[in-house]
Symmetry: C2
């Protein structure tokens, strides 16, 4: 999937993950999103655009403000991709546990 590049790249930044965390509380204006960070609103605006391009949030223009809220699709792309590997590592952990049990630890 081409979009996986954008999704994972978007998630690889601390600031952007924090923005998504804020949006878990509900929708927020761009200036609200920018407030907690020690950087210009322009910088936050760029981060929001990256998240938007990755399908992780949606923006809605409302008067002179711009409201953002979480979007499921991007997160679902990442989650679906990881699912295959989840079965792998749960099996790996199970094997480890079984191994420890058989050794009597």
């Amino acid at each position: 999937m081409e979009n996986l590049n954008k999704v994972f790249a978007a998630l690889s930044d601390e600031t952007r993950r924090a923005i998504l965390g804020q949006l878990m509380q509900g929708e927020a204006r761009l200036s609200d999103l920018a407030a907690p960070f020690n950087m210009t609103q322009t910088a936050v605006s760029k981060h929001v655009r990256v998240l938007s391009d990755a399908g992780l949030l949606v923006m809605e223009k409302r008067g002179r403000t711009r409201h953002c809220r979480l979007n499921a699709t991007g997160m679902k792309d990442a989650s679906d991709w990881l699912a295959d590997y989840q079965t792998f590592w749960t099996r790996q952990f199970d094997n480890l546990a079984q191994h420890l049990i058989e050794e009597g630890h």
Copy 2:
């Protein structure tokens, strides 16, 4: 988590995801991993190092070859982080489905 940056950044590259896909089939030498790609082995070696730093694979020196295999920990970091949002978007989808049902569609 500091390591989440590395994990998601590592996953944001097509080549690196393909390498992980190869390792799903089992362990492989670096030269085997490099074979399918249209790039130098040095480039692939760099990708492998990125994956290793992110805790997504482990390398073992064996003679003059270097064997790689999947490592669960990095993938688990990403999966754990996503889990919170999974509950969010499954709820979001459920709400959408409920909405459509109530409208009689």
